[in-house]
Point group: C2
Chain length 460, copies 2
C-alpha cells in the first residue's frame, strides 16, 4: 500500500504534531537513542529538519548524537541556516565532509558558504578532490549569484542524434543517478542551441532527430546574474529549469525551480522585514545578531523623531494657550503615517515584482494621489466632525480636518516618491523607505496642524 | 542560431525597454496595426502581457484590436488580473471562449472566476460542452482551493505495465499535446499508488515493470486544501508537481510548481500589504477599489489614535505646567511603535512560513523580550542622555529613558503576542496586527511618560 509522505502520524497540516515532539523529548530525556531513531525513521528529511527547529534548543545536540548517520545530507540541506550552524558545530569535519559530498553542488555550496572560513577549510580538506573542486569553483562566483545556485550535474546532447539514441545513452548511463527535468542540446563548443522537455522526448518516435524536437528559444541565465533577477525570470517565464551559461556562452550548469521557490518566498517575504528594519527576521537567529540588526533602525527612528519633535517645540506658546492641541497633534501624524505606509507597501511590492517601472511611474503617482484625495476627504470629514462635536469647537474641527487632508495627500506622494527615488539610485526601495516616509508624515502633520491652529487665531 | 527568449531587443533585465514601448505607442498613434503586430511578434506571451500593463491605459483597447488573434490564451493567462478584466471587456464572448478553450483548466478557471457572473456565463455558453464541463467542475470547488488550481490533464498508468509499454503508449498518443513532469501510477479504482519522475522512466530498460520504478511515497493534495497550504507543502517538500485526490482518494488532477510559484510570491508579499491595510495593493487596481480597501483601516487607525489621545488629554494639567512634554511624548510612542512593528514583522513571517508553532511560542517570546531589553537599554541611554544634555534637565532625561525602556519592552511583548493570539483564534495574523500593536505602544508610551513625569514631580 502506498503511504502519503505528508500525513504520516507524526505530521499534520505540514507541521510536526505536539505529541510526536513530546515523544521525541521523552526518548532524549531517557537517553534512548534507539527509540529516537525509531521515531525519526518515517520522517521526510524536511520534517526531520523541522524536528531540530521545533525542539527546545538544548535538545539539538543530543538529537544529532542519537541520530548519527541518519542526520544526512538531505536533512541538513532542509534545515534553517541558524539551526544548521548550531548542529554542524557539534559534528566532526569528516562527518560534515561525508554529508556534503552526497549533496548536489548547490546545496553543498549553500552549506559551506555559511560556515566560518577555517571550519569550511577543514571540511573541504576531508573531501574527495573532484567534489572539492566543484565546490571551490562555485564559491569563486559572487555571493547570491546564479553560479552559486546552479547544479553542475546536467544532461547535454549534440543535435545530430536521434531521440532513440538519446534514450539508449541514458539507459546505458544509469550511474548519473540524478533527477533532471530537461535535456539540453549543445554545439561542439558546448554552447546551448536548444532544449527538450522530457515529456517531448517520451512522446516522440525513436527515429526523429533531436534537432526536430528541441525548442530553439530558451531562457539562458548568465552565471553572474543575481539570484533575485534569476527568481524573477523563473516566475515571469514559468520555468521549471534553465541553462546557466558562462561569459563565453558555454553551458556550465542548470538551475531548477525547487532551488528558486525558496528564494522567491524569501525575497517576497523580506520586504516586510526590511521596511520595519527587522534584519534577517529569523526566530532562530542569535539574540545579539537580532539586536545589532534592529537597534540601528531604532536609532535612526530616534533621530527622525527628535527632528519632528523640534517642530512641536517651536509651537510651545501656541500649545500653552490651548493644551488640547498636544493631545490632537499625534492623531494627525498617526493617520498620515498609516496612509503613507499603505502607499509605500504597494509601491515596494510593485517595484519588487517589476510592475512599477519608469514607463508607468507618473501614472502610478497620479493614481495614488487620487486614492489619497478620497481617503483624505473621508478621514478629514470624520475627524473634523468628531472634534467639532466632542470638543464643541467648530473652528478646531475645521483646522484638524484641513491638516489631516493635507497630511494624507503628502503621505500618498511620499509613499510613492521615496521608494521610487531610492530604486532609481539603485538603493533597495524597502530598506530605508519607512524612516523617510514616517519622518515626512510626522513633521508635516505636526507643522500643518499647529500652523493652521495658530493662523486660525484659535489660541489668540 | 538560437535566440535567447529573455534578451530579445525589446526586453532588457526582464523588463520591456522604454524605446520599444515608445515604438509601439507611435504605431498605435499612427493606427498602423501591421507595425504593431510586427513589433509584438518576437515577444514571449509574458512580455506581451507586460506590454498591456506598461502602456498608458488609453492604449490598451487599441492594442487589443490591433493584435487580433495574436492576443491568445497564453498572453491572457500571464496578464495582471485588473488589466485582463479591462482587456476582456473589449472582446466578444466568442473570442474569449476561443482563448479559454485553449487554456489548461487552471488558467481557464483563473480567468473565468474573476469575471462578472453574466459575462462568465456568456463565455461558457460559447464553449464546447467538454471544455465547459471541465471548467464548471473546477468552479464547484471552493475559491482558492487545490481544485481550482489543478489541471485535469495528466498521465496515469496501471502498475503492471513495463516501462517500454508506457513509452509506446505515449508515442501512440501524441495528441495529448501537453507538458507533464511525472507519470502517476493508479490502481483499478483510479487511486494513486505511486509516481515516476520522467528522468527515471528515461533511464530505465524497457522490460522493467512500472511497479519497480515508481516511488510509493508521494505527497497527495486533497482537492479542497487551501492554496496557501498547497504552496507551503510544495515549498517544504521541494515538489515539481503533485497529485490531487478527491475525498475518496481517487486521482482527479495535478498541480505543477509553475502555478504555485505565483501563489508563493503572492502570499509572501501580501503580508506587508495586510499589515499596513493596503488591500490587494495592486497598482492596476481601480482607484475606487483601492480607496474602499484602504479607508477602512485608516478609519480603524483614526479610532485607535483618538483613544490614545484621550490619555494625553488626561494630563492637560501636567502639560500646561511643562509644555516641552508635548514635544517629547510622541518620541516615546514612535520608538515603541517602530520596535513593535519590527517584532510583529518577524512573528508574522515566522507564522506564515510555519516556523513559529505552539511548540516554540514561549521560546520565541523569551527571545523577543531579550532583544527588546537590549534595544530598550540602548535607546533609553541615548534618548535619556540627549534630553538631559540638550534640555539641561537630568530628571527629565531619566524619566524619558525609563518610559522608552518600558515602552520598547511592551512593544516586544505585543509584537509577538498579538499575531500569535490572532493566529491561535484562526484569524489572519497579519491583517489587524498593526492596529492593535500601534494602539498598545501609543497608549503605553503616552501613559508611561506622562505618569512618570507627574510622579517625578517634574511639574510640581
Amino acid at each position: 500500500m502506498m503511504s502519503d509522505a505528508a500525513t504520516t502520524p507524526a505530521v499534520e497540516d505540514n507541521r510536526l504534531r505536539g505529541d510526536f515532539l513530546r515523544a521525541v523529548e521523552a526518548a532524549l530525556e531517557a537517553d534512548d537513542a534507539a527509540r529516537v531513531r525509531e521515531l525519526a525513521t518515517p520522517l521526510h528529511p524536511a520534517d526531520l529538519a523541522d524536528l531540530f527547529e521545533q525542539l527546545a534548543t538544548d535538545w539539538r545536540e543530543p538529537l544529532a548524537a542519537a541520530l548519527g548517520d541518519m542526520l544526512d545530507a538531505d536533512t541538513l540541506s532542509e534545515m534553517n541556516e541558524w539551526v544548521r550552524d548550531e548542529v554542524i558545530a557539534t559534528l566532526e569535519p569528516a562527518q560534515v565532509a561525508e554529508a556534503v559530498s552526497e549533496m548536489d553542488t548547490d546545496d553543498a555550496v549553500a552549506l559551506i558558504e555559511e560556515m566560518e572560513p577555517e571550519d569550511a577549510q577543514a571540511v573541504l580538506d576531508e573531501m574527495a578532490p573532484d567534489d572539492r573542486v566543484a565546490i571551490e569553483t562555485a564559491l569563486s562566483y559572487p555571493e547570491e549569484s546564479a553560479g552559486r545556485l546552479m547544479q553542475r550535474e546536467l544532461i547535454a546532447v549534440p543535435e545530430h542524434l536521434g531521440i532513440g539514441q538519446v534514450i539508449d545513452w541514458l539507459r546505458d548511463h544509469p550511474e548519473t543517478g540524478m533527477d533532471f527535468w530537461e535535456i539540453f542540446v549543445v554545439d561542439p563548443a558546448h554552447k546551448p542551441v536548444g532544449t527538450m522537455r522530457l515529456s517531448w522526448v517520451l512522446t516522440t518516435p525513436r527515429d526523429i532527430p533531436v534537432a526536430d524536437v528541441m525548442q530553439r528559444e530558451q531562457t539562458l541565465i548568465p552565471v553572474t546574474m543575481d539570484q533575485e533577477e534569476v527568481a524573477l525570470r523563473f516566475q515571469k517565464y514559468a520555468l521549471i529549469s534553465a541553462a546557466v551559461v558562462d561569459e563565453d556562452g558555454r553551458l556550465v550548469g542548470v538551475i531548477t525551480v525547487d532551488d528558486i521557490v525558496h528564494i522567491i518566498s524569501q525575497e517576497a517575504g523580506e520586504d516586510i522585514l526590511k521596511m520595519t528594519g527587522a534584519g534577517d527576521g529569523d526566530i532562530n537567529e542569535p539574540v545579539l545578531d537580532s539586536y545589532k540588526a534592529r537597534v540601528k533602525w531604532l536609532i535612526a527612528n530616534l533621530g527622525t523623531a527628535l527632528i519632528s519633535s523640534t517642530v512641536i517645540a517651536q509651537f510651545e506658546g501656541t500649545i500653552e494657550k490651548m493644551v488640547i492641541l498636544a493631545a490632537l497633534t499625534p492623531i494627525v501624524a498617526s493617520i498620515g503615517g498609516n496612509a503613507g505606509t499603505q502607499t509605500m507597501a504597494v509601491a515596494v511590492r510593485a517595484l519588487a515584482t517589476d510592475q512599477l517601472t519608469e514607463a508607468n511611474t507618473w501614472r502610478t503617482i497620479r493614481r495614488e494621489i487620487r486614492v489619497a484625495l478620497l481617503n483624505g476627504l473621508t478621514i478629514a470629514a470624520l475627524l473634523g466632525l468628531g472634534v467639532a462635536v466632542l470638543l464643541g469647537n467648530m473652528q478646531l474641527g475645521a483646522v484638524i480636518a484641513a491638516a489631516a487632508l493635507f497630511n494624507i495627500m503628502v503621505a500618498g506622494l511620499a509613499g510613492v516618491l521615496v521608494p521610487v527615488t531610492l530604486n532609481h539610485f539603485r538603493a533597495d526601495p524597502a530598506v530605508a523607505s519607512s524612516v523617510f516616509v514616517t519622518m515626512t508624515t510626522d513633521t508635516m502633520g505636526f507643522l500643518a496642524f499647529l500652523t493652521l491652529a495658530s493662523l486660525a487665531g484659535l489660541t489668540g
